[in-house]
């Protein structure tokens, strides 16, 4: 590739703003977190903390009362449940919106994609009210139908709170999958449908053997991306449950996913002595897990020779 010949000074001048910014705001906090994770720095020891090696990591990973694995487990469960729902709801809506026999397609499309445009922070606060036990409209509608005793403790029961934040996340995220899948569906040439019909393929067979393989290449990166985003999810869940409901003081709350757990251990109202060193070890461990997942995921995206052959055939 041809390039411009310029003085070294010029190169530095062009790069400096970006590199300085990255070094101070991105790199330094990471290195400092790494350093903190090897100290016993906490609110009470902030004047004289010292190096303690890998003690924080030992406590995090090998101590019996560590919250790490329960929190990681419920986060992974959340990711799997949410992403499966995204895929199913996104696929069904995309198939419906791709059906030429449906009237008013553009109107349906705007309506079904509306949750994407709404500011997610505000809608999280709205959903919190919808789930409210006494005044929330869900329970009020229930009371109209089932009588005044009716009431579902949406955000008060651990399992229901988990389901509630899944519902909200599905509401927020399915439009992204609808758009991705719809784009892929519209790339499928009409002759394929005709050919499959002549060969006697039913709707299910057509979906299983034609649609699905052709949509998969677009779906894999979207799925990985949203799995990673859901793993790191903070805003929506925190605004609705703050990680609760907390059943016992010794256990993390039912929706206390990794980021929320970390946040609550530092800024939570009930934490008198935040142990920054330990939290830093938690953060570094999470980063290692995330990096591993991303690496595995990107390998998955480039593989799958069958689908890439389909793509070549299309091109």
């Amino acid at each position: 590739m041809p390039m411009l010949r310029v003085k070294r000074r010029t190169i530095i001048a062009f790069l400096l703003p970006m590199l300085a910014m990255m070094a101070v705001i991105n790199l330094w906090p990471i290195l400092y977190t790494l350093y903190l994770s090897t100290t016993n720095y906490s609110e009470f020891t902030s004047d004289n903390y010292h190096f303690i090696g890998l003690e924080n990591y030992r406590q995090l990973l090998f101590s019996f009362d560590s919250d790490f694995f329960p929190v990681l487990w419920q986060t992974l469960l959340y990711v799997v449940v949410c992403v499966s729902c995204f895929l199913v709801v996104g696929m069904l809506t995309a198939l419906a919106l791709n059906n030429p026999r449906v009237k008013g397609l553009s109107l349906w499309r705007v309506v079904l994609l509306l949750p994407w445009a709404a500011p997610s922070g505000i809608t999280a606060l709205i959903w919190k009210f919808l789930f409210q036990y006494d005044f929330g409209p869900f329970n009020q509608i229930g009371r109209l139908i089932f009588g005044p005793q009716f009431g579902i403790p949406w955000l008060l029961n651990p399992t229901l709170a988990f389901i509630s934040v899944v519902i909200v996340n599905v509401w927020l995220s399915y439009p992204f999958f609808t758009v991705v899948i719809l784009g892929a569906l519209q790339g499928i040439p009409g002759e394929l449908r005709e050919a499959a019909r002549i060969d006697g393929a039913g709707p299910w067979q057509y979906f299983r053997h034609v649609t699905l393989p052709l949509v998969t290449p677009a779906l894999v990166p979207a799925t990985i991306l949203s799995a990673i985003t859901t793993f790191q999810m903070f805003n929506t869940v925190f605004l609705i449950t703050q990680g609760g409901p907390v059943v016992s003081a010794l256990k993390p709350g039912a929706t206390e996913f990794v980021m929320i757990y970390m946040y609550n251990r530092i800024l939570g109202a009930t934490v008198a002595n935040p142990h920054y060193g330990f939290i830093a070890a938690f953060a570094i461990t999470l980063f290692v897990i995330l990096a591993a997942l991303t690496y595995l995921g990107s390998g998955l995206g480039t593989r799958s020779p069958q689908t890439s052959r389909f793509r070549e055939a299309q091109a």
């Binding site: 041809p2 411009l4 010949r5 310029v6 010029t10 190169i11 062009f14 790069l15 703003p17 910014m21 990255m22 101070v24 705001i25 991105n26 790199l27 906090p29 990471i30 400092y32 977190t33 709801v89 809506t93 419906a96 026999r101 449906v102 349906w108 309506v111 079904l112 445009a117 709404a118 500011p119 922070g121 505000i122 809608t123 606060l125 709205i126 959903w127 009210f129 919808l130 006494d134 005044f135 409209p137 009020q140 009371r143 109209l144 509401w171 002549i198 060969d199 006697g200 790191q232 805003n235 605004l239 980021m259 946040y263 530092i266 800024l267 920054y276 999470l286 980063f287 995330l290 991303t294």
Partner: protein, 314 residues
């Protein structure tokens, strides 16, 4: 396949009906009718599904809009209103006059606008250097940027706090601007760089030969050509700080009337306060959401074209 062949033969030669052929035609007709019925049932199913999904998608939005028009006496009562029982604009008036709503919107726009500006300056100049200048460590810089990006900023909460404390930027909107723009730089740099890779270099070479400085070539030739990529970068950085709660909550401490907050912190404090009637929260949400949704729809269009040309769409 075998089911379709005889029917095709029948349609071609309707005159040659023998008795078994006629029966077959009848059976075929019945099967066609059944297929038509199941297709119609399928269509009904699709419509039913679409209606359910539309209710799911619209209910929260509809509910908050109707609640914003409901008279104050309906709030926090146990009866349900799907239509505002006492239609009024009072909630909007109260939201504007008694809550620092305009301050929140102003603060958010200021943070997001400065973030876009700061991110744009850093990422565009960096992208230009990486796309056009030959120097040792160019590839390494590009890879290092991606690696840094993989670390979620929220994980370094303690470090951010100490850093902003040292820079005297705690409780300052500029602190947020720094963090948000640093978080968006990598994406913008990569997107802009791959856009610049697609632009011809000859114009700049000619300009340099004619005695222009590299900065002049960058400013007068490259920037006007790269407008779509710049628009994407600006919108992307603008929207990173939009809904962000965790870092904003760390950096900003509410003052007496909360007028120094961004809108998401403000709305959160409104909702957490039990004295605040739900209708006022609803009206505030609607006021804040409408400009945001308009910007989003506007941005969507740009995102698509600018991304496709930027080469990151694949």
């Amino acid at each position: 396949m075998s089911q379709h062949l005889p029917s095709a033969a029948l349609e071609q030669k309707p005159a040659a009906f023998s008795t078994p052929a006629r029966e077959q035609a009848k059976r075929l007709q019945a099967r066609r009718a059944a297929a038509g019925l199941s297709a119609r049932l399928g269509l009904v199913g699709i419509y039913a599904f679409l209606v359910v999904m539309a209710v799911f998608a619209l209910f929260p939005l509809y509910y908050v809009v109707q609640a914003s028009f409901a008279g104050a006496q309906n709030l926090y009562t146990t009866d349900l209103h799907l239509f505002p029982a006492h239609f009024t604009f009072a909630n909007y008036v109260t939201a504007f006059t008694q809550e620092p709503l305009l301050n929140w919107i102003g603060n958010t726009l200021l943070v997001c606008g400065l973030t876009a500006l700061c991110g744009l300056v850093c990422s565009t100049s960096g992208a230009y250097a990486l796309a056009r200048f030959r120097f040792a460590g160019r590839e390494l810089t590009l890879r290092a940027l991606l690696t840094l990006q993989a670390f979620p900023g929220l994980l370094a909460l303690t470090a951010y706090y100490l850093l902003l404390n040292a820079l005297h930027l705690l409780n300052n909107l500029l602190g947020l601007v720094l963090i948000y723009s640093a978080g968006a730089i990598v994406f913008c740099c990569w997107n802009t760089k791959s856009y610049l890779d697609g632009l011809p270099i000859e114009l700049e070479q000619a300009a340099l030969l004619d005695g222009a400085t590299p900065f002049q070539a960058f400013w007068h030739i490259v920037l006007p050509l790269a407008t779509p990529a710049l628009a994407v970068a600006a919108l992307f950085t603008f929207m990173t700080g939009w809904n962000e709660f965790a870092l904003a909550n760390l950096v900003l401490n509410a003052n007496a009337n909360g007028s120094n907050l961004t809108f998401i912190l403000g709305l959160y404090s409104l909702q957490s306060d039990f004295r605040t009637p739900w209708g006022i929260f609803a009206a505030s949400s609607v006021i804040v959401s409408i400009p945001l949704m308009l910007i989003f729809f506007f941005a969507q269009r740009y995102f698509r074209s600018g991304l496709a040309q930027g080469g990151l769409a694949n």
